[in-house]
């Protein structure tokens, strides 16, 4: 393994890769150095934005608003770099890898932070940007395992559509969970009459509206993503294999949960009871789908085998 390659791949994959094994799934035979060069600065800029957001509201005044404006500009820069990183992965490396998936979801969350950066909603970036940094950081250190069956199954134009939609959906659900947490913080502080500094948060009705929007976005894009995955499977997999895949089955269950939550919230204009339960259970299921199921259960398109 060359020096550049070692720099990109996490240390614990070096040994297996040095033996020439592809089991660790590190991008084979391509130059990864540019990806590291872009990936680490992305993390650095997200970190700088996080630091500026954290310092922003404390002092108030022009300095605080300058720092928030700088933090937003840093987020824009990080998102632009991040896009370059993902394009680099798609062209030079392996976009359908486990590590790339985490990073892609992080990018979606950063885009959500930028999309919401107006008025008091802009303070949501204080929560979304660190989340994006953590997700991207995880993507940088995880083994770059890839969906094992892909090489055998050959390419299909539906695959990038499936990936993009599923990542967008996951980003929507992660953003929805963050907004729900912020909403609960505001709600509890109002109930506890801890009123100092509350002006730095969006109003409850705005948080409920954004939460339902993010939920709806996730539900629709995940439905389309699963459908696009089905199209890919019909091109590439044996008949019936797609629905027999446990990952697909569990994804549909997660989708059903979120869809139920979405319609419950819509019915109550965003004021359905126990939003944290709806969101927390969905997020836990999502984590299991992405962390547990991918490595515990075998299937056609699990990252772990």
């Amino acid at each position: 393994m060359g020096v550049w390659r070692r720099l990109y791949a996490p240390p614990w994959t070096w040994a297996s890769d040095a033996k020439g094994s592809d089991a660790a799934g590190v991008i084979g035979g391509r130059e990864e150095a540019p990806l590291l060069v872009v990936g680490l600065p992305v993390l650095g800029v997200y970190g700088a934005a996080t630091w500026l957001f954290a310092r922003g509201p404390a002092s108030g005044g022009q300095d605080a608003s300058d720092r928030s404006a700088k933090a937003l500009r840093a987020t824009q820069a990080a998102a632009a770099l991040h896009l370059g990183y993902l394009i680099g992965l798609a062209t030079l490396g392996e976009i359908a890898s486990y590590a790339a998936s985490w990073s892609a979801v992080a990018f979606g969350v950063a885009v959500a932070a930028l999309a919401l950066s107006r008025g008091r909603l802009a303070s949501l970036a204080r929560w979304l940007v660190p989340t994006a940094a953590v997700l991207h950081g995880i993507g940088m250190v995880l083994p770059a395992s890839r969906v094992l069956a892909l090489d055998e199954l050959g390419g299909s134009l539906w695959l990038p559509v499936h990936l993009a939609l599923v990542w967008a959906a996951l980003s929507g659900f992660v953003a929805e969970f963050c907004v729900t947490v912020v909403e609960q913080i505001v709600r509890r502080r109002l109930k506890a009459k801890k009123l100092a500094g509350l002006g730095a948060f969006p109003a409850l009705d705005a948080l409920a509206r954004v939460r339902v929007q993010a939920l709806g976005f996730g539900v629709v894009t995940l439905a389309l993503g699963v459908a696009a995955g089905g199209m890919w499977a019909s091109d590439s997999l044996p008949h019936g294999a797609w629905l027999a895949d446990p990952k697909v089955g569990f994804t549909l269950a997660v989708w059903a949960w979120y869809a139920t939550a979405f319609f419950a919230h819509r019915r109550h204009d965003g004021n359905a009871p126990r939003p944290l339960v709806w969101s927390g259970v969905g997020f836990a299921a999502l984590l299991f789908l992405f962390v547990g199921l991918d490595f515990v259960v075998s299937g056609f398109h699990a990252y772990g085998g």
């Binding site: 005044g61 008091r120 009459k193 004021n271």
Partner: protein
Amino acid sequence: MAAEDALVAIGLSHHTAPVDVRERLALDADGVRRELDALVAGGVAREALVVSTCNRVELYAVPGQDGVERLREHWSVRPAGGRRSLDPYLYAHQGVDAVRHLFRVASSLDSLVVGEPQILGQVKDAVKLASGVGTLGAVLNRLTQRTLWVAKQVRTRTDIGKSTVGVGNAGVHLAEQLFTTLEGRRAMLVGTGEMGRQVAAAMVHAGVSELVVANRTFERAVELASRYAGTPIQLDRVPDYLSGVDIVIVATGASSPVLRVPEVKAALKARRGAPQFLVDLSVPRNVDPQVDSLSSAFLFNIDDLRQVTQAGMDAREAASQVAERFVAQEADRFARRLAGLGVNEHIGDVVRIADQLRQEEIDRSIRVLSQLDEDGREALDAMTRALVKKLLHRPLGKVRDAVGRGNDALAEAILSAWDDPEGGDAGEDG
């Protein structure tokens, strides 16, 4: 030459004079125009600006030949009411203190409610008036432009105008934690106590679209509702209207709760979980505190509102300290520029005196050197001009440097060399 001579501020404000004195002196726009005209036309001031609001009447002026005392006399002869003289209520600032005072006034640091935004508009209006009358000259033009800039910087660089003061605004501030905007929201005022009125008025001002007013004495409800184009109801009909309003302000003198858990619970059910903001301003409390345990009900009492206003006042205090430092710094900077402006006039006077002396000497010499032709005269003229210029170049350069470093005494000392030994300064001599 010093800034102290160039500018003076004389006036009275809520800090020094009671309202009955202030109202006697207050001027409307026409009054201000007449005053400005009288000051400049009468030679009391060379430049003048009058700021007249309900809390202050102030004159900013570049004094005329008779100086500051004449300006003070001009104002203090006005009656303060009865046999009182205006003198005890007047304050006067000169030079950098006058600059700082105007900066503080426009930045709302000298206001009754520090941070209130109206004063800046009032100063702008005063500047427009003076500009229209033509009483702003080189000094006041620069000062007023700088003042507006400083005031704007204070508002944008500090939180002086952002924090919440006053019970009414505190109510709005809390409601805006639930609702992004109050526009289109419906509110209900239960009881017509003073604080309830204040909060309701602030809510309407913030955009509440409809106000329902409930009161035990129906006539008072009708009277208050008519003021805001609202709906008056009897007190016992409150539960019927409860589900239709987003904001409930309770301020009655009742000794037992007017709103209890079952009524609010029923209203929230009808609202399908939509949050409701309730403020109980009564002592003893008129909304059962248990209402706050309902997940969609957010109940606040008078102590919570005080918490908001106190935090607002603390924030303004902190912001005003930052603003004071900025204003003082800018005032010093402007005063130095003002001194530079004054010194330029003096330097001009010196140059004129020197040129006049040169011309007198040439005229005297021409009589002796009558054989000089036109070319010879021109050469003599050019040579003497160059000589005067070179002789003045170094000392006047030192004067400018001294003013730039704030060393007015040195500048004065150098320029005094050209003072008329008979009295008066160089300019008047020239």
